[in-house]
Symmetry: C2
């Protein structure tokens, strides 16, 4: 306990996620979780638990086919815990028991939710929990209208709640069975739009939703909200147009896949049949991902925005600005470093999976690794077929992707900032 | 003429390269350049000329099979002009005619060779021309010892000179015929080492070679030379080990391909038969490329070094330093921007080629585009089979790769630095 207290918030978060994943693995392997006649090996339970806690949605085994109602409830809980962030849940529990939240707890929520200040942390967590409940209840009600047409009411209710939790937390899990994801409902407008809505709001980030709720006017929003909303609209539009151009799918399908690739991971068409060009569009969307402070992954929309603005300012010799505000150097530098680390993770994962699984094409492997890193969960269908070593690589990639490569990289650092300063000297670049 | 004088150095360099490419295209289409019974279409002449001037070495048609001795001499001259840089050649010519080099000329050499100061520019260009001559003469003499065993002396001499020019300029062209590149000599130690030596020295950059010649001790070298030499050693070693691990080739072959992928583009083994993992290693080596101020392409070794150092310093909370010197912010920022622009170019080229040529695998297309962008010239063999639109995309990629994406991006900018400064506000990243 003393040892735990001395760790940095970053390390505690990593340990917390790992702990929840191992607990989930254990629960999913219990006989009460597994359907009669099915086997769930350790690696597949670990894969499912990691995928749920990291809100990814890649599946080694079909959720509905292998797990009982109890098992599926465990999966939904793991998704909800992963989506809110282990620490927010912890703080929420402490609040429920009436205890005061200490400085350490506040620091951890700050790190996990990526907010700038410690003020109003407790009120924030309360608002987040309430907002999650509202969105998921509304989503479940609308989904119920669709599922009740095909399933008996009680089962439809279960599917609807599971689906709303999965969609708002951008997790991409389904419990329709047979590895079909949402393909049976590819032309159902209500379900497509409900799911898209849950995904988009879940992927904007809690702070942005709170900002919208408070200001109710685009002009008054803070810079971060403006950037995130603008980028989301641009990426959704570009993704829809490019997918419609490269694939033989409906406009609804192109829109839904464009929304979903940005981190949710539901598929209404079989991704394995997409062309190279379409898969590449999805890979880039998955790599960029959702917005910071949301349940989604990837390098984040605001990071991508900073890259574009920094590059534009370098090419045109102007100040780096956005919406009449200058972007600070630290933001640009952090954006580039996160992108570089993310590329390293994706490239390393892809390289090792290429060696381990030579029978798959390069684009299939790059797609699966990017999906894992962006905690997206879209799949060309190779994940269930991977060997154990390959599954461990995907598990590790999901874990790094959910916590962020910079958090992972910085937990190894013990040293305080160096005192010695060197004299400056330039090197040639490019 | 007045219009030309008002242009920025960057624009003049772009125009100069384009002019030389078009002149080369015209010369290669003349009957005296083309062998009897062969046809050279406009697109294939343009492709060959661009590939030569951009010192890439991708080929749409085999050089020896299609061109006469006159045509091959044109190709060698285009490679030499492209390797030295159009402006260095221009300044060299002015020097030969005894005229004084004006401020504009010096500025252009500064831009083209990526040197920091205008001092000693003329002496520098003289040294560069002399050095090129020495390395190429030595390389041709050593290659002659190999080729004379298989060809009559006069032809062997021609092949040797062509090969030395191609290797020192990192161009990857061969005139052995039948699209075989250097595969017939894959086990010839002398030719492999001679070629590797020419490639490595050509790829270090003239300034580094001059620095080594002057100081003769690693410790006394300037920071840039230290960085470039260290990175070259690391990349060569890592490349050799990874290729030996993934492919069924000899150590000599792994070393040679590792050297060659860093921008030269010779192949002693058929690249089309490599595994996905091996191709991916080559793609990453090609993307990083050679050192700045050399004849090679890619984002450059020093750029990659800056990325790694900046990331390391962010993860460990230390100053960004190298060899006891602090790296300036402008250097790190330029490194990230160049890398981002380069990724954009490679991704855009790959996307369009995926659409145009759906019959090829994604890794083949990514490989070919990265090879074109890094002006490497390695090929899985698809380039000669591409349609005209595909060839234009590869041509454009080579052109952008040779001049650098930042130079290309900045030629569109007319505006001076903005006077208005905005107040600073942060956005969340990652
Ligand atoms: K997901
Ligand atoms: K080359």
């Amino acid at each position: 306990m003393e040892l735990l207290k001395r760790q940095s918030p970053g390390r505690l978060i990593v340990l917390g996620f790992a702990g929840v994943i191992l607990l989930g693995t254990f629960l999913l392997m219990m006989p009460v979780s597994v359907r009669e006649g099915q086997q769930v090996s350790f690696i597949n339970a670990l894969f499912t638990s990691t995928s749920a806690v990291c809100v990814t949605g890649l599946i080694a085994i079909d959720t509905a086919d292998h797990f009982t109602v109890f098992g599926r409830t465990i999966v939904a809980l793991l998704i909800q815990i992963g989506g809110l962030g282990v620490t927010s849940v912890g703080v929420g529990l402490i609040l429920l028991t009436g205890k005061r939240v200490g400085m350490k707890g506040r620091l951890m929520v700050k790190e996990a939710m990526n907010v700038g200040s410690l003020k109003g942390m407790v009120r924030l967590v309360k608002a987040v929990l309430l907002m999650t409940l509202c969105f998921e209840a509304a989503g479940a009600a609308l989904s119920f209208l669709v599922f009740v047409q095909d399933y008996p009411p009680v089962q439809a209710l279960g599917i609807s709640v599971f689906h709303a939790v999965a969609a708002f937390n951008n997790s991409g899990f389904d419990i329709l069975g047979g590895l079909r994801n949402l393909i049976p409902y590819q032309n159902d407008i209500l379900l497509n739009l409900t799911t898209s809505g849950l995904i988009i709001f879940g992927g904007l980030g809690f702070l942005v939703i709170l900002d919208i709720g408070r200001k109710r006017s685009f002009k008054k929003l803070c810079l971060h909200s403006k950037v995130v909303i603008t980028m989301s609209v641009i990426l959704l539009t570009a993704g829809t147009l490019l997918l419609k151009a490269t694939e033989d799918i409906s406009w609804l399908g192109a829109f839904f896949q464009s929304v979903s690739a940005r981190t949710a991971g539901f598929s209404s068409y079989p991704i394995g049949e997409f062309t190279n060009a379409g898969l590449f569009v999805l890979i880039i969307l998955m790599f960029i991902g959702a917005s910071p402070g949301s349940t989604g992954g990837g390098i984040k929309t605001s990071t991508f925005f900073a890259l574009v603005q920094a590059t534009k300012s370098a090419a045109t010799n102007q100040h780096c600005s956005a919406f009449h505000r200058k972007l600070p150097y630290e933001v640009l530098s952090k954006a580039f470093i996160i992108t570089f680390l993310s590329m390293l993770v994706v490239c390393t994962g892809t390289f090792f999976l290429c060696i381990l699984e030579p029978e798959y094409t390069f684009v299939q492997i790059l797609f699966e690794i990017t999906s894992a890193f962006g905690t997206v969960g879209l799949s060309t269908g190779i994940t269930p077929e991977l060997g154990d070593a390959g599954k461990y690589i995907v598990i590790l990639t999901m874990f790094i992707g959910r916590l962020g490569p910079l958090t992972i990289a910085s937990i190894w650092s013990f040293r305080p900032a160096a005192a010695a300063r060197y004299s400056e000297e330039s090197i040639t670049i490019g």
